[in-house]
């Protein structure tokens, strides 16, 4: 690959920002284009929606329930035979008088009606912004409803303005109220899979591989899970977490409370999968697991080798530039590495160090985040070396952040692979850089922030229906989609003939 002007092909390089003050690290500057969600969004969308068997009632005006209905993560778990409410979105639909006089009676009535219609075993109530302000006592209503209807009613006060991340509220609630209440016997090698960003086909692939090796998946959180399995989650011996930030504190508390050991697990990219599977077998220290793991790895890699090699040939010497946020970038980097492509990653979004969690940043960074501090039991130091934050480029100009090229400090770069990670470039610098790089393919996740992207080059766009590239098959699916992008004939007509110079 071309490494810009750093002059050391193949080495580890990165362009880093120069001096930074704490002021420049404040996370949410009013008036900037931010992509952040809110507490409700994470609580409901990330954690609760994928759990089958829970009926979610959004307490608040109708909007939040409308937008959170049917996200990407909302998929149906066909093998779960309990009640499933994934195609419904319920709201108490507060109006102006409820905001003035309080929405408690409305919530009570809504629970009554929901129980009559859906007869759910578990109800989860998610509060939206106005609730926190008008002060409805959602918790006690939930308790009353539990007694009245004999079902479990969980309440989450995930008002959108709260700086406590919603996934934290939700996972904590589930750990306190759900986990540890089940008595189902588990298999010989019981594990939990906890992590965001996987669903559908990747969940199926994970299940397939673990079944073949002989692990027993006890419970799944933030994936294709269901509430009955989660009740037994404490019986697992190992927590696999596939996400860096969202679950860091959950697995730590689970370790303290239930004594479940933990392991980071990455299901994207061949190297990651192979290493993860081997590490898992190490943790259980069972020779039969090791043998079966080895057998599975050689069989699965053998199956896709021919196809991958073919793709590699076609993609030889191509240069890829990633304009994605850090989490997606990491995935694409691993996948591209499998195809022998060394990507240039231009990061623009929040970057967290692996294992670190957003809240620790928040409590450190936020000048007024008192609630954040109250919730924060596990403290992480802020790693200023690897801490990047989403700010518009010209704001960086304004605060006089200089960009310099560090060529001779290989250890400073903690990027997974030998690639170029560039953050916080000005518009001009991006254009300059792109001129040098001459990329063949762009991954345009945050494209709107960079006008310098050439209209001529092709950009990668995953099909909405088969977006997931996890698992052994994922590498092939990704290669196929990459080839689709490169071979797409539409790029030819990108520029009108009268505009060509």
């Amino acid at each position: 690959m071309v490494l810009g002007n750093t002059g050391q092909p193949g080495g580890r390089h990165r362009v880093v920002t120069g001096e930074r003050t704490v002021d420049s690290l404040i996370m949410d500057v009013p008036g900037i284009l931010c992509k952040h969600g809110c507490s409700y969004m994470a609580c409901r969308g990330l954690v609760l929606t994928p759990i089958s068997g829970v009926l979610i009632i959004t307490h608040g005006p109708v909007g939040c329930a409308y937008y959170s209905w049917g996200g990407n993560r909302q998929r149906y778990q066909p093998e779960y035979y309990g009640p499933d409410y994934y195609s419904y979105s319920l709201s108490t639909s507060m109006n102006e008088s409820d905001v003035i006089f309080g929405g408690e009676s409305r919530l009570k009535q809504a629970i009554k009606e929901a129980v009559e219609i859906f007869k759910p075993p578990v109800i989860a109530i998610c509060s939206t912004c106005p609730i926190g302000l008008i002060g409805d006592d959602v918790e006690s209503i939930a308790r009353e409803a539990e007694e009245e209807y004999g079902i479990q009613v969980l309440s989450f006060s995930c008002e959108g303005f709260r700086s406590v991340p919603g996934y934290r509220l939700a996972t904590r609630g589930i750990m306190d109220r759900v986990m540890g209440s089940g008595e189902k016997p588990v298999g010989k090698y019981p594990i939990n899979v906890i992590g965001e960003l996987y669903n559908g086909s990747r969940a199926r692939e994970i299940t397939r591989i673990f079944d073949r090796i002989g692990y027993d998946i006890v419970a799944v959180l933030m994936g294709d899970g269901n509430i009955d399995d989660l009740r037994n989650a404490h019986k697992a011996h190992l927590n696999l977490f596939t996400s860096d930030k969202a679950v860091a504190d959950l697995i730590e508390v689970m370790q303290d409370r239930f004594g479940i050991s933990r392991m980071g697990f990455n299901f994207i990219g061949m190297d990651n999968i192979v290493n993860s599977l081997k590490n898992m077998a190490e943790i259980f220290a069972s020779p039969e697991l090791k043998d079966r793991t080895e057998a599975l790895i050689s069989e699965e890699t053998g199956k896709i080798k021919e196809c991958l090699d073919d793709c590699k040939n076609q993609l030889k010497n191509k240069v890829a530039v990633l304009f994605e946020d850090e989490f997606v970038s990491r995935h694409y980097q691993a996948l591209l590495y499998d195809l022998d492509i060394n990507p240039v990653a231009i990061g623009h979004e929040l970057i967290c160090r692996s294992g670190q969690n957003e809240l620790s940043f928040l409590s450190n960074m936020e000048s007024n985040g008192s609630a954040g501090k109250a919730y924060n039991e596990v403290h992480y130091g802020t790693d200023f070396e690897h801490y990047h934050i989403s700010l518009p480029l010209n704001l960086y100009d304004r605060i006089k952040t200089c960009v310099e090229v560090l060529g001779e400090n290989p250890d400073a770069s903690k990027t997974a692979y030998e690639s170029l990670l560039i953050t916080h470039l000005s518009q001009g610098q991006v254009e300059q850089l792109l001129g040098i790089i001459q990329a063949d393919i762009y991954f345009p996740g945050i494209k709107e922030n960079f006008a310098g992207i050439s209209k001529e080059a092709c950009f990668f766009k995953a099909d909405d229906y088969r977006f997931d590239y996890g698992g052994f098959d994922g590498a092939v699916r990704f290669a196929r989609d990459l080839l689709m992008t490169m071979n797409m004939t539409g790029w030819r007509n990108n520029t009108a003939p009268w505009k060509k110079t």
């Binding site: 329930a65 319920l90 985040g369 010209n394």
Partner: protein, 451 residues
């Protein structure tokens, strides 16, 4: 899918299941997109703008820029006015828009921020404008928000000076394709016009050249100011345009004509007759031909259309206009529902049904759970509505024609009109194709013919 909906009608007082309408800020953002070089600003927590952005992005398949005040706990206690000031400063400095359109959310409305006072004091540079609309999420729907933002923009900007002999066209909450078609018809009739808001050329553009460059489309600030000098306002849709038209009348004395969206035949006829009055020209031959084509299609296809029952759901203005069109081609708008509250919806639907001697049920506000229960009792032949009806279509096995907002699972939709005579042909094509595909699917194999 949707298995828990009981067959027996359930009485609900408060619970809303599968809502049909978003909250006001969604419409406010869309209205702001219809102004040139405008940055919509959401005065609320960060999640609000993200949700609405995602919704619009999925419909238009184009990412858009919305800034947020990012209110946190401290704002809930001390008020968010300070954040708003900082935000306005930052936006002008970083993104350099001509207009900032501030709308509120349920958070800032419940806190009680006085954004009007806050923005009134802001020292504006010449050529820059601030617009603010109160859009609390707990009243109305995204249509109300759209209406609030357009009327606020008129209130803030429109000024009466020298008459410009143009028509002010308020197109309502419709796609850019529809706005384009309304403009084309007005052009054909020789009528000068200012359309506001106007999202043609805002979506569907590829990467811009410079970082702070705004898309070429959108009503320019000068044109919004000029609205006050127009001869007459043509306001489409009572729910999305009436408030703005009244505001323009009160402020600048521009008389207005409130009409249904020009969908189908009669509504377009009314629109064309208005244009004829305004410009004093004869109807263009091109429009005449287009109308002939629609009539021809209807005459050809009426055996397929006649007495087919349809359930319609979506935004009120579109539902009313489409329902009238369906009635006028012999189909029965059996169930019509909308998520936007307002007594006018049911009144107008009653009028339309009475006019064509048909029976049907109309309800506002209603949700898709209501509709499913009605369908379980008495099914229909066709659903017409937005993407959210997809689950319903599958569960009840009824074909769905996608019209309205949001349509997240089909391409090109937002570029194509449903208004005007061309839109009528397109609607007819979609409806006929769905009906015939369904008919052929269910037809006995030995009876299948080519014609």
């Amino acid at each position: 899918m949707l298995d828990w909906t009981p067959n027996e009608r359930v009485k609900r007082q408060v619970l809303c299941i599968n809502p049909l309408a978003g909250c006001q800020p969604l419409g406010a953002i869309y209205a702001a997109m219809g102004m040139h070089a405008c940055m919509p600003h959401s005065h609320g927590s960060s999640g609000c703008s993200r949700y609405q952005k995602t919704m619009l992005k999925r419909h238009f398949r184009q990412s858009l820029k919305v800034t947020s005040s990012v209110l946190k706990e401290s704002a809930a206690i001390f008020g968010g006015e300070g954040s708003l000031q900082t935000a306005i400063n930052n936006i002008f400095e970083l993104y350099d828009p001509e207009i900032i359109a501030v709308h509120t959310t349920c958070l800032s409305e419940t806190i009680g921020d006085d954004i009007k006072a806050c923005l009134y004091e802001y020292p504006l540079v010449e050529g820059k404008y601030l617009i603010h609309a109160n859009t609390p999420s707990y009243t109305g729907s995204h249509i109300t928000g759209f209406s609030n933002m357009t009327s606020s923009a008129i209130e803030c900007l429109a000024t009466k000076r020298v008459p410009n002999h143009k028509a002010a066209i308020l197109p309502g909450f419709v796609n850019p394709g529809d706005m384009q078609e309304i403009k084309r018809i007005s052009g054909l009739m020789g009528c000068g016009y200012i359309m506001f808001p106007d999202t043609c050329g805002v979506f569907g553009q590829r990467a811009v050249e410079k970082i702070n460059q705004y898309p070429a489309g959108g009503t320019r600030a000068a044109d919004i100011i000029d609205l006050g000098n127009c001869k007459k306002t043509l306001a489409f849709g009572k729910f999305s345009s009436e408030a703005a038209a009244i505001r323009l009348y009160n402020k600048c004395g521009v008389p207005f004509e409130l009409m249904d969206l020009p969908i189908g035949i009669e509504a377009v006829d009314r629109f064309v007759m208005q244009l004829k009055c305004l410009s004093g020209q004869d109807v263009a031959g091109e429009l005449d031909d287009e109308r002939e084509q629609v009539i021809d299609v209807i005459l050809d296809a009426y055996p397929v259309l006649y007495n087919k029952k349809v359930a319609l759901f979506g935004d009120p203005d579109i539902v009313i206009a489409v329902a009238e069109f369906l009635a006028s081609v012999g189909m029965i708008p059996q169930y019509t529902i909308t998520g936007t509250p307002g007594a006018y919806f049911e009144e107008r639907m009653k009028q339309i049904l009475a006019n064509y001697n048909m029976d049907g049920m109309a309800k506002a506000p209603a949700d898709l759970f209501d509709l499913q229960q009605w369908l379980k009792k008495e099914p229909v032949d066709l659903l017409i509505g937005n993407t959210h009806g997809k689950l319903l279509a599958r569960a009840e096995d009824i074909p769905l024609v996608r019209v309205g907002f949001p349509i997240m699972d089909r391409y090109v939709q937002s570029n194509m009109p449903v208004v005007g005579y061309r839109g009528a042909i397109r609607l007819l094509e979609m409806i006929l194709n769905s009906l015939m595909e369904r008919m052929e699917r269910d037809h006995p194999e030995n009876d299948l013919v080519f014609i």
